[in-house]
């Protein structure tokens, strides 16, 4: 472990997490969003807002997020936005933590699991919030 510096490989911060933290694909406002929710992680104060543009027949055309959040939470939100785009509402509602973890490819410790789950629970709130069809 030759003087492993801070950039040494860490199971917590996978390449996927680093990449999506540096260059999130879906971060930003979504002006036409018609399903929106926001929540905080009470453990750390992180805040995530998910915005969905849901088409009349129920397909999610686009998803974006905004937030003050750590690398893991940001990467999770970005992956969630990726996974729900193009899906139906019910498919999106079925998204669970295993789907996100499969993409993140990281060893998330119990203390950081809430960082992963916050965007998923905010997605569920957003799907709940919009007018039911």
């Amino acid at each position: 472990m030759s003087g492993a510096g801070p950039s040494a490989p860490s199971g917590l911060y996978s390449d996927v997490i680093r990449d999506r933290w540096r260059r999130p694909r879906h971060r930003g406002d979504l002006p036409g969003a018609n399903a929106v929710a926001e929540d905080v992680n009470p453990l750390c104060g992180d805040r995530v807002r998910m915005m969905l543009a849901v088409e009349p027949e129920g397909r999610i055309a686009e998803a974006r997020f905004l937030g003050d959040s750590c690398a893991i939470c940001t990467a999770s939100a970005d992956v969630v936005a990726d996974l729900v785009a193009g899906r139906s509402r019910s498919e999106a509602a079925a998204l669970d933590i295993a789907d996100v973890l499969a993409v993140l490819q990281a060893e998330i410790r119990p203390t950081r699991m809430r960082c992963v789950t916050l965007p998923i629970s905010v997605l569920a709130k957003a799907l709940d919030w919009s007018p039911k069809r």
Binding site: P6, Y13, G45, R112
Partner: protein, 405 residues
Amino acid sequence: MTLDELTRPDFPILQRVVNGRPLVYFDSGASSQKPRAVLEAMSRYYERSHANVHRSIHTLGEEATELYELARDAVQRFIGASSREEVVFTRGTTDGLGLIAETIGRTLGRGDEIVVTELEHHSNLIPWQLVAKDRGAVLKAVPILADGTLDLAAYDRLLTKRTRVVAFTHVSNVVGTINPVTEMVRRARGVNALTVVDGAQAAPHQRLDMSALECDFYVFSAHKMLGPTGIGVMYGRRAVLDSLEPGRGGSEMIKEVWIDRAQWNDLPWRFEPGTPPIAEAVGLTAAIEYLEKLGMDRVTEHERALTRQTHEGLARIPGATVYGPPPSVERGAVVSFAVEGLHPHDVAALLDAQGIAVRAGHHCAMPLMRRLGVVGTSRATFSVFNSPDEVALLLTAVAGLSSAL
């Protein structure tokens, strides 16, 4: 011999290797580590003397009672209380502040005012919010200035003839600001308000003297001052304690009981319902004796040097920001900082990968975070066993973080 050289062999946990590195523990502000003297005192108590206190006639009961009450004497000496009756044991700072808020709260009426500050830990804010809601009282907060100190001119304006309670922290758990307790108490007394001081971040680090501070209540926890979890102290000025009805009921706190009424026990037991944390009291005695042997002035000097080294070192690192008063101002043993482009939780996780334990997040002070314009900070806090070499490790690690994610 420096204080860290003197004390490190006493802390078994410092032998731990974390993520391949020797543990560097900079989270004593959340909970300190324990010297062997504390661990041994508690296990000796359980192995030789444990029984319930106060009501047991047998030998062990007498020993346990004596040990428990010796802790009260140790605390009285440690904080300069004028009598042992002023020392009430609680489960910790949060419990003590809640007990005070409930107890005083019953005496408040609609429109009475409670003054807190923007520096408060949630433990010294939420209980007052609950009281205000319950009694129709008004809650006001003293704002902070840009340097993290309180705006004392605003404090003066907030004090009115309706102010019944002023509750504030001695030392900020986030930015380390040391509030001028004696002066704030004096001004509160000018409007006949009771004063409640949260001493959680002061008691482990500096000499305390209740007769000089002159506050009505002073509250702290054992576990941040080398003692065990599960016990804290609520100091109350005798005249005030005498005037208050007990906040909570149960055994121990009564003299005589009928179905429809009871006669309260004497101080301090009137405020200690139920079986108290006895082993924890024994551990607290050992922690106090340990600190007294080192000398609190020496403790302060050692930790202030580490705090200054950290503050000045971080300030020199490009992209690092330190919150709170400048290094020229004396502060508690805490330094909150940010690293540009990194979330505080990621800073803490990356430092942990190098064996360095710091805290990250809102530190149970969300209003202060909002005031600082951040979601959270990373925070290093210090104790007697921390060394300048450990601070140097922290500084090197932080300097390398910007390229870490």
